[in-house]
Amino acid sequence: MNDLKPNEVINLTDRLQTTLKQVKPRAEFVADLKRKLIRESRSGQPVQNEWKQTLTWIAIGAGSVIYIATLLFVSAKSAWWILSAVGALLGWKKAQQPQKQTARIK
Protein backbone atom coordinates (compact mmCIF):
# COMPACT_ATOMS: atom_id res chain seq x y z
CA MET A 1 0.00 0.00 0.00
CA ASN A 2 1.55 3.32 -1.12
CA ASP A 3 1.45 6.19 1.31
CA LEU A 4 -0.64 9.22 0.45
CA LYS A 5 0.93 12.03 -1.58
CA PRO A 6 0.18 15.59 -0.43
CA ASN A 7 -1.97 16.28 -3.52
CA GLU A 8 -3.98 13.12 -2.82
CA VAL A 9 -4.65 14.26 0.72
CA ILE A 10 -5.82 17.65 -0.56
CA ASN A 11 -7.98 16.08 -3.24
CA LEU A 12 -9.64 13.60 -0.88
CA THR A 13 -10.18 16.23 1.79
CA ASP A 14 -11.81 18.54 -0.78
CA ARG A 15 -14.10 15.77 -1.98
CA LEU A 16 -15.05 14.85 1.57
CA GLN A 17 -15.74 18.48 2.41
CA THR A 18 -18.02 18.88 -0.59
CA THR A 19 -19.85 15.61 -0.01
CA LEU A 20 -20.23 15.47 3.75
CA LYS A 21 -22.17 18.65 4.43
CA GLN A 22 -24.41 19.24 7.36
CA VAL A 23 -28.03 18.60 6.46
CA LYS A 24 -30.83 20.25 8.36
CA PRO A 25 -33.50 17.97 9.76
CA ARG A 26 -37.05 19.04 8.85
CA ALA A 27 -38.19 21.78 11.23
CA GLU A 28 -41.54 20.01 11.60
CA PHE A 29 -39.80 16.80 12.65
CA VAL A 30 -37.63 18.62 15.21
CA ALA A 31 -40.62 20.43 16.73
CA ASP A 32 -42.81 17.29 16.79
CA LEU A 33 -40.13 15.21 18.43
CA LYS A 34 -39.52 17.88 21.08
CA ARG A 35 -43.23 17.99 21.92
CA LYS A 36 -43.33 14.20 22.05
CA LEU A 37 -40.29 14.05 24.37
CA ILE A 38 -41.66 16.67 26.75
CA ARG A 39 -45.08 15.00 26.80
CA GLU A 40 -43.43 11.64 27.42
CA SER A 41 -41.21 12.96 30.21
CA ARG A 42 -44.17 14.64 31.90
CA SER A 43 -46.52 11.71 31.51
CA GLY A 44 -43.94 9.22 32.83
CA GLN A 45 -43.69 10.52 36.40
CA PRO A 46 -47.25 11.71 37.04
CA VAL A 47 -48.54 8.33 35.88
CA GLN A 48 -46.44 6.66 38.56
CA ASN A 49 -47.58 9.23 41.14
CA GLU A 50 -51.18 8.77 40.12
CA TRP A 51 -50.84 5.06 40.63
CA LYS A 52 -49.31 5.60 44.04
CA GLN A 53 -52.11 7.99 44.98
CA THR A 54 -54.80 5.62 43.74
CA LEU A 55 -53.28 2.74 45.68
CA THR A 56 -53.08 4.90 48.81
CA TRP A 57 -56.73 5.87 48.50
CA ILE A 58 -57.76 2.25 47.91
CA ALA A 59 -55.80 1.21 51.03
CA ILE A 60 -57.37 4.00 53.11
CA GLY A 61 -60.86 3.14 51.80
CA ALA A 62 -60.43 -0.57 52.44
CA GLY A 63 -59.05 0.14 55.93
CA SER A 64 -62.00 2.37 56.77
CA VAL A 65 -64.53 -0.19 55.53
CA ILE A 66 -62.90 -2.96 57.61
CA TYR A 67 -62.77 -0.67 60.67
CA ILE A 68 -66.42 0.37 60.38
CA ALA A 69 -67.52 -3.22 59.71
CA THR A 70 -65.65 -4.42 62.79
CA LEU A 71 -67.19 -1.68 64.92
CA LEU A 72 -70.67 -2.54 63.65
CA PHE A 73 -70.09 -6.24 64.19
CA VAL A 74 -68.81 -5.69 67.72
CA SER A 75 -71.64 -3.34 68.60
CA ALA A 76 -74.24 -5.62 67.01
CA LYS A 77 -72.87 -8.53 68.94
CA SER A 78 -72.94 -6.55 72.17
CA ALA A 79 -76.48 -5.45 71.44
CA TRP A 80 -77.42 -9.04 70.77
CA TRP A 81 -75.95 -10.12 74.10
CA ILE A 82 -77.75 -7.37 75.94
CA LEU A 83 -81.04 -8.17 74.24
CA SER A 84 -80.57 -11.87 74.86
CA ALA A 85 -79.83 -11.21 78.50
CA VAL A 86 -82.92 -8.96 78.84
CA GLY A 87 -85.00 -11.50 76.96
CA ALA A 88 -83.76 -14.31 79.15
CA LEU A 89 -84.52 -12.32 82.29
CA LEU A 90 -88.06 -11.47 81.15
CA GLY A 91 -88.63 -15.06 80.10
CA TRP A 92 -87.49 -16.30 83.49
CA LYS A 93 -89.75 -13.81 85.30
CA LYS A 94 -92.76 -14.86 83.21
CA ALA A 95 -92.00 -18.47 83.91
CA GLN A 96 -91.88 -17.71 87.62
CA GLN A 97 -95.39 -16.03 87.79
CA PRO A 98 -97.62 -19.09 86.95
CA GLN A 99 -95.71 -21.17 89.52
CA LYS A 100 -96.53 -18.61 92.27
CA GLN A 101 -100.26 -18.57 91.31
CA THR A 102 -100.46 -22.41 91.47
CA ALA A 103 -98.88 -22.36 94.90
CA ARG A 104 -101.54 -19.89 96.22
CA ILE A 105 -104.48 -22.02 94.90
CA LYS A 106 -103.09 -25.05 96.66
Binding site: M1, D3, L4, E8, V9, L12, T13, R15, L16, Q17, T18, T19, L20, K21, Q22, V23, K24, P25, R26, F29, V30, L33, K34, K36, L37, I38, E40, S41, R42
Partner: protein
Protein backbone atom coordinates in the same frame (compact mmCIF):
# COMPACT_ATOMS: atom_id res chain seq x y z
CA UNK B 1 -9.05 25.45 27.37
CA UNK B 2 -10.64 27.31 30.27
CA UNK B 3 -13.64 28.01 28.07
CA UNK B 4 -14.01 24.30 27.26
CA UNK B 5 -13.80 23.31 30.94
CA UNK B 6 -16.44 25.92 31.74
CA UNK B 7 -18.64 24.69 28.88
CA UNK B 8 -18.29 21.08 30.07
CA UNK B 9 -19.22 21.92 33.67
CA UNK B 10 -22.15 24.02 32.44
CA UNK B 11 -23.25 21.06 30.34
CA UNK B 12 -22.92 18.69 33.32
CA UNK B 13 -25.17 20.97 35.35
CA UNK B 14 -27.72 21.00 32.54
CA UNK B 15 -27.60 17.19 32.30
CA UNK B 16 -28.16 16.92 36.07
CA UNK B 17 -31.16 19.24 35.82
CA UNK B 18 -32.48 17.31 32.82
CA UNK B 19 -32.77 14.17 34.96
CA UNK B 20 -35.83 15.65 36.68
CA UNK B 21 -36.78 18.57 34.51
CA UNK B 22 -38.43 18.24 31.09
CA UNK B 23 -37.52 21.75 29.80
CA UNK B 24 -33.84 21.12 30.64
CA UNK B 25 -33.98 17.93 28.61
CA UNK B 26 -35.59 19.97 25.83
CA UNK B 27 -32.56 22.28 25.92
CA UNK B 28 -30.18 19.31 25.60
CA UNK B 29 -32.30 18.00 22.75
CA UNK B 30 -32.13 21.28 20.84
CA UNK B 31 -28.39 21.40 21.35
CA UNK B 32 -27.76 17.97 19.85
CA UNK B 33 -30.65 17.03 17.58
CA UNK B 34 -29.02 18.26 14.36
CA UNK B 35 -25.72 16.53 15.11
CA UNK B 36 -27.34 13.21 15.97
CA UNK B 37 -29.66 13.51 12.97
CA UNK B 38 -26.67 14.10 10.66
CA UNK B 39 -24.77 11.17 12.11
CA UNK B 40 -27.74 8.85 11.60
CA UNK B 41 -28.57 10.35 8.20
CA UNK B 42 -25.12 9.69 6.78
CA UNK B 43 -25.03 6.22 8.34
CA UNK B 44 -28.43 5.14 7.01
CA UNK B 45 -28.48 7.15 3.78
CA UNK B 46 -32.11 8.20 3.94
CA UNK B 47 -34.26 10.80 5.64
CA UNK B 48 -37.06 8.51 6.76
CA UNK B 49 -34.84 6.15 8.77
CA UNK B 50 -32.74 9.07 9.99
CA UNK B 51 -35.85 10.65 11.55
CA UNK B 52 -37.03 7.38 13.01
CA UNK B 53 -33.65 6.53 14.54
CA UNK B 54 -33.04 10.08 15.79
CA UNK B 55 -36.37 9.93 17.62
CA UNK B 56 -35.38 6.58 19.13
CA UNK B 57 -31.98 7.94 20.22
CA UNK B 58 -33.59 10.77 22.20
CA UNK B 59 -36.37 8.56 23.60
CA UNK B 60 -33.76 6.10 24.85
CA UNK B 61 -31.56 8.91 26.17
CA UNK B 62 -34.50 10.34 28.11
CA UNK B 63 -35.34 6.98 29.65
CA UNK B 64 -31.73 6.16 30.53
CA UNK B 65 -30.74 9.64 31.67
CA UNK B 66 -31.38 8.93 35.40
CA UNK B 67 -28.67 6.21 35.16
CA UNK B 68 -26.21 8.48 33.34
CA UNK B 69 -22.99 9.13 35.21
CA UNK B 70 -20.68 11.96 34.25
CA UNK B 71 -17.20 10.56 33.52
CA UNK B 72 -15.78 13.86 32.34
CA UNK B 73 -16.63 13.14 28.69
CA UNK B 74 -18.89 15.40 26.65
CA UNK B 75 -22.57 14.46 26.89
CA UNK B 76 -22.57 14.10 23.10
CA UNK B 77 -20.24 11.07 23.45
CA UNK B 78 -23.02 9.28 25.35
CA UNK B 79 -25.62 10.28 22.73
CA UNK B 80 -23.37 9.16 19.87
CA UNK B 81 -22.91 5.79 21.60
CA UNK B 82 -26.68 5.33 21.77
CA UNK B 83 -26.97 6.39 18.11
CA UNK B 84 -24.13 4.07 17.14
CA UNK B 85 -25.82 1.07 18.81
CA UNK B 86 -29.18 1.83 17.23
CA UNK B 87 -27.62 2.29 13.79
CA UNK B 88 -25.72 -1.00 14.21
CA UNK B 89 -29.00 -2.79 15.06
CA UNK B 90 -30.68 -1.10 12.12
CA UNK B 91 -27.93 -2.26 9.74
CA UNK B 92 -28.20 -5.79 11.10
CA UNK B 93 -31.98 -5.84 10.60
CA UNK B 94 -31.77 -4.19 7.18
CA UNK B 95 -29.14 -6.62 5.92
CA UNK B 96 -31.54 -9.44 6.80
CA UNK B 97 -34.28 -7.80 4.77
CA UNK B 98 -32.66 -6.09 1.80
CA UNK B 99 -29.62 -4.19 0.52
CA UNK B 100 -30.15 -0.48 1.19
CA UNK B 101 -29.46 1.75 -1.79
CA UNK B 102 -28.05 5.18 -1.10
CA UNK B 103 -30.92 7.59 -1.38
CA UNK B 104 -30.78 10.03 -4.26
CA UNK B 105 -31.63 13.07 -2.23
CA UNK B 106 -28.54 12.71 -0.05
CA UNK B 107 -26.70 14.55 -2.84
CA UNK B 108 -29.60 16.75 -3.92
CA UNK B 109 -29.98 20.46 -3.51
CA UNK B 110 -26.31 21.39 -3.50
CA UNK B 111 -25.88 22.54 -7.05
CA UNK B 112 -26.92 25.50 -9.09
CA UNK B 113 -24.49 25.05 -12.01
CA UNK B 114 -24.88 23.62 -15.52
CA UNK B 115 -26.81 20.32 -15.70
CA UNK B 116 -23.89 18.27 -17.09
CA UNK B 117 -21.59 19.48 -14.32
CA UNK B 118 -24.30 18.79 -11.76
CA UNK B 119 -24.76 15.24 -13.05
CA UNK B 120 -21.01 14.57 -13.00
CA UNK B 121 -20.54 16.05 -9.53
CA UNK B 122 -23.50 14.07 -8.23
CA UNK B 123 -22.10 10.89 -9.65
CA UNK B 124 -18.75 11.58 -7.93
CA UNK B 125 -20.48 12.22 -4.63
CA UNK B 126 -22.59 9.11 -4.96
CA UNK B 127 -19.46 7.03 -5.54
CA UNK B 128 -17.68 8.59 -2.58
CA UNK B 129 -20.71 8.06 -0.31
CA UNK B 130 -20.92 4.47 -1.39
CA UNK B 131 -17.25 3.92 -0.59
CA UNK B 132 -17.72 5.66 2.78
CA UNK B 133 -20.67 3.35 3.53
CA UNK B 134 -18.43 0.34 3.12
CA UNK B 135 -15.84 1.60 5.59
CA UNK B 136 -15.76 0.14 9.12
CA UNK B 137 -18.13 1.86 11.59
CA UNK B 138 -15.47 3.81 13.48
CA UNK B 139 -14.03 5.27 10.24
CA UNK B 140 -17.47 6.38 9.09
CA UNK B 141 -18.04 7.96 12.49
CA UNK B 142 -14.71 9.75 12.30
CA UNK B 143 -15.50 11.23 8.86
CA UNK B 144 -18.96 12.37 9.93
CA UNK B 145 -17.64 14.02 13.09
CA UNK B 146 -14.78 15.67 11.20
CA UNK B 147 -16.59 16.93 8.11
CA UNK B 148 -20.25 17.18 9.05
CA UNK B 149 -19.84 18.33 12.66
CA UNK B 150 -16.52 20.07 11.92
CA UNK B 151 -14.99 18.83 15.17
CA UNK B 152 -11.27 18.91 15.95
CA UNK B 153 -9.26 15.70 16.42
CA UNK B 154 -9.20 16.31 20.20
CA UNK B 155 -13.01 16.65 20.32
CA UNK B 156 -13.46 13.57 18.16
CA UNK B 157 -11.05 11.74 20.47
CA UNK B 158 -13.16 12.67 23.48
CA UNK B 159 -16.29 11.34 21.78
CA UNK B 160 -14.70 8.16 20.47
CA UNK B 161 -12.75 7.60 23.68
CA UNK B 162 -9.34 7.73 21.98
CA UNK B 163 -6.32 9.99 22.14
CA UNK B 164 -5.83 12.84 19.67
CA UNK B 165 -2.87 10.97 18.16
CA UNK B 166 -4.96 7.83 17.68
CA UNK B 167 -7.58 9.88 15.83
CA UNK B 168 -4.92 11.44 13.57
CA UNK B 169 -3.59 8.03 12.71
CA UNK B 170 -7.10 6.60 12.18
CA UNK B 171 -7.86 9.51 9.85
CA UNK B 172 -4.72 8.85 7.85
CA UNK B 173 -5.61 5.16 7.50
CA UNK B 174 -9.15 6.13 6.51
CA UNK B 175 -7.87 8.38 3.72
CA UNK B 176 -5.62 5.57 2.46
CA UNK B 177 -8.59 3.22 2.56
CA UNK B 178 -10.75 5.71 0.65
CA UNK B 179 -8.14 6.33 -2.03
CA UNK B 180 -7.61 2.62 -2.63
CA UNK B 181 -11.34 1.86 -2.71
CA UNK B 182 -12.01 4.74 -5.12
CA UNK B 183 -9.19 3.53 -7.39
CA UNK B 184 -10.63 0.01 -7.37
CA UNK B 185 -14.00 1.23 -8.67
Amino acid sequence: MLFKVKALSEESALVERAKNDAPAFGELYERYVTRIYNYVYYRTGNEHDAEDLTARVFMRAMKQLPNYTDRGLPFSAWLYRIAHNLVANWHRDESRRRVVPLEEHITHGLYTDAPEYVAEAREEERRLLEVIHHLPDERQQLLILKFVDQLSNAEIGAIMNRSEGAIKSLYHRTLLNLRDDLEKE
